[in-house]
Symmetry: C3
């Protein structure tokens, strides 16, 4: 037993020593980063506001709906302000300032950013309603709007993306990405918060979907499981501060009414799928289509059948 | 601070206003839907009954096994009855009835449906045993039946599907789909509760697997990660009540002993993979095969190699 | 109500009866297996040691870092020793020994194995640092090392794999696989603990990635979502004890600086991707490449475009 204690102390010394040597992968005595747990709490609260009564166990009556909503919004404001403070402190960690100016400035800006975001909620709900309609209209297995909300992972991923996108637009660091990665964990759908996605968006099944940072997606587009909207090649440079230099649009553009079936891969920042394009499953597209094109995988040259 | 409170109240009014305008995506003062949390609890309890001693932390001895099981089954009956009541109330939400008849009828039917389901458990366990055997027989990395149960995500997904399928067969709304979507979240395997799947079913790795609502799968079939059993085209109409009109079989049929390797896509309700068909990875199949066919991706026409 | 109780008792008898008949899928009065919950706790503690301050909510100061670390390491030692005891008891479950020898031997060995593993932590952290650098260098969307750790699922999956691999190397049963399957659930990335993976490893997005048990991966390799390193065919035999006979290397080898884009499938134990090979998205490779080869999907023979 004494031996074990000695061994554990020795190991502790070695591990703490490794924090000194390999600094950079640990985060000590700096500002605390926004944590995965706090961001999860933000998303849970947000979903209760987006779709009240769907995820909570208790019935909500019309009379206490206002109280319920005020409580949720107040809680969300506290959580979000707090995490924005952390993320901005992290962003300014290399800045030196003897006065308390930065602390104060960050606290003020964080409170403002949180309120700015909360003000966007009615607008986000308006777009989410169009998404729910698109799901209902696109899948015969959906028996009601309610079923879509309570059981389709695509709706969860899109709701989290639409919220994270607003924070991303206001240049809040870290939090938007942690939000969409939480949705990625739950749904297998990986939408970068920087992507621009129009109304009536439908993702079915969704596992393996990747939508890159500079993708642009029009209205009424439909995407199935395993579809990648990616970069054709990945080359970039960073300046001395680690900032990426000249990283232009590297992911594709989908105009309105584009449908992409499962497993298809669309690559490149200059690739445009024009209005109404339909891409068949497993297809591979790296150049612009014309409006109404159907691109399908041609099995006649690609597969062999061996008879028994 | 006063400003913040005013801002939060204003936001609350706007959000509550948006519930009025964009009604349909929120669920207030209606019947409460079955919630994701309650369904998760049902699945956890069910797994303790299917595989006692595997997921609970304490050892179970033969003497208290009966008490343990009775407790779990009683708990499951309460949980399930309660959620079925919610789902049936939701289904009948448009029906008007001044008397309490509907409430009573639903309560009675829900209790019966729950008992009906519980009676199926021994039969489901019998089939699950064949699935565990199929995993052990198909993967050299599996060192024991116990390892299969405790660490293979495919077994979890299949167990949840087999339970949800029984509820689906009895036309219980919403719950079966929420169950399989929970398994989808945990495993990346998306099996619609409506699919029909025979004994000795094996899914390896599983991420990205999609098995559509009207798929039929025979005995001793094996499916790998990223395989889609999907619809060839998705066209359907709804009647005035939103009910889907004439939506026939739109997903494929697999006869016995069919193997489909990773990333392959099989589409269409009339597509039949006859007995013993083997589909190679990344293949794309939209027509019926003959018994014993091997369909493989032919790289000679599909890939270019550029030398350095 | 009495009827319900009778029904539940009857069901309990049937279910308990099914434990007798279909024994083998349940685990009663044997040794308790390592549970998913305990392994999850081990991983959470480990991540707090690998990346202190990233996942915990409180700031850690330099002064209490040593106490924090000692506490975590002591807790990890207790958890791990306990689960190793379970896994070794399970492994020796068929052995008969009237004395207490086996119990004692297992307890002693488990304590030693736990300390052996803990001693590896500084070394694992050293390699993980190279992985974090590879992520930062490979993705223009990564703004800092910290962002990589807190939001990239690939880093989580690789960290869990590198820890599980050490236990696998020491032939600890069950636990390594449960560990990597937990990461699989969270990230969609399925790395078998038996795989050998060099420094500076990068996995982007990651959903659907499968890296088989006997894969060998060099340094500075990059893998994208949906990539499979798999077996070409799966044939094996077991001896009377269920042990697999002669199951040689069945998954591919990647030399240094290999990049494989999304959805590509590389199969076979004799397939070697030589240094600097680049495999394009959706490609299908079952034979050895030469150094510097680029293998790309050729759409000219594989796709048809139908004009409107």
């Amino acid at each position: 037993m004494k031996n074990t204690n000695d061994a554990l102390k020795k190991i502790t010394d070695d591990v703490v020593g490794s924090y000194d040597i390999h600094g950079g992968i640990n985060h000590i005595e700096g500002c605390t980063l926004p944590s995965q747990n706090s961001v999860k709490e933000i998303i849970d609260t947000l979903m209760d506001i987006f779709f009240p009564g769907f995820f909570t166990s208790n019935e909500i009556s019309g009379t206490d709906l206002k109280d319920f909503t005020l409580n949720k919004i107040t809680a969300l404001n506290d959580l979000l302000t707090n995490e924005i403070i952390k993320s901005l402190k992290f962003q300014h960690r290399h800045q030196q300032d003897s006065s308390d100016n930065i602390e104060e400035t960050i606290a003020k800006k964080s409170a403002e950013e949180s309120i700015f975001f909360l003000n966007k909620i009615p607008e986000i709900r308006k777009i989410l309603k169009t998404d729910v309609e698109a799901f209902y209209d696109s899948d015969p297995a959906a028996a009601s709007h309610e079923e879509v909300i309570v059981s389709y992972p695509g709706i969860f991923a899109i709701a989290v993306y639409r919220a994270a996108h607003e924070l991303f637009n206001n240049k809040i660091p870290l939090i938007p990405r942690i939000m969409t990665e939480y949705a990625h964990t739950k749904t297998g759908i990986d939408i970068h918060p920087g992507a621009n996605i129009g109304k009536y968006f439908f993702i079915d099944h969704g596992t393996g979907v990747v939508i890159g940072e500079t993708s642009i997606i029009g209205e009424r587009c439909r995407i199935y499981q395993g579809v990648t909207l990616g970069a054709l090649k990945i080359e970039f440079n960073r300046d001395d501060d680690g900032k990426v230099i000249e990283c232009n649009k590297r992911h594709p553009t989908l105009e309105d009414d584009v449908t992409i079936y499962s497993g298809a891969t669309i690559l490149g920042g200059k690739t445009i799928l024009k209005k109404g394009t339909l891409i068949g499953g497993n297809a591979w597209v790296t150049s612009t289509t014309e409006a109404g094109d159907k691109v399908v995988f041609d099995t006649s040259n690609t597969q062999k059948v061996f008879k028994k």
